[in-house]
Symmetry: C2
Subunit: 139 residues, 2 copies
């Protein structure tokens, strides 16, 4: 089976370099949700060299930092799971106390309808995307 994260083009790509790609996930419930995806088909962080891990995490933390500054979430969730797609990728998710799942992880039980407040937050996405691209170019 073809690995979907090995694809030449990934929808929502906002930044890429030789090692990794950053995508803005199209998820109406979590505006600003990003994935940082290692380009090579590697399964675990400990399969990378220390230098590769360091560069990978620098980008993950840069995404977090821009989310914090531009989107002002109540918490940021970071996760590298890969049970379904065992190709290294990090989820970087801005969370709000009134979002659809809080305080559950986004993989837990939905808690409430948050569509109105979430749509308002999505208005920040153009500004967020520009800030993200600007920050990542400087790494």
């Amino acid at each position: 089976m073809q690995c979907e994260l090995c694809a030449e083009q990934l929808a929502g790509t906002v930044f890429e370099n030789e090692e990794l790609r950053v995508i803005l996930v199209d998820d109406a419930k979590f505006p600003g949700f990003c994935r940082v995806i290692w380009r090579a088909h590697v399964k675990e962080m400990s399969d990378l060299s220390a230098a590769q891990r360091g560069r990978f995490m620098d980008v993950v933390f840069a995404v977090e930092s821009v989310q914090k500054t531009v989107l002002c979430p109540d918490k940021i969730n970071l996760a590298s799971l890969g049970n379904v797609v065992p190709h290294l990728h990090w989820h970087v998710i801005p969370r709000y106390v009134d979002d659809a799942f809080f305080p559950q992880p986004i993989w837990g039980q939905e808690q409430r309808d948050a569509s109105l407040v979430t749509a308002q937050r999505a208005a920040l996405l153009p500004e967020f995307t520009l800030a993200l691209q600007s920050a990542l170019k400087q790494i």
Copy 2:
């Protein structure tokens, strides 16, 4: 409210230094599940300095590496969520295709009764704990 991760003593502590603690989580469904907990009450990874983040992640990845070597999981899940307890901590979770929740995250829907195979895996915990302590002392 007192933060539970600020406590002087944490159950299951297998390693600690001035900055962080590593605990073996008492979770019958996920033998080998560890948490790496920053000692100071800090909310986000981007609130730490780059050097602090680097040392924190070095320990997270060392835990992953020992899990991989001793426990031979099918996948390892890493997550820093903190929606309930906003005090930086990483979950490092060995996952198996026949565990109770796979391929769901451990916060998702339970998939099956895996008590028998999980109990067998728990027999490796003494060996795992020794290997983990040995690896972490060398960081």
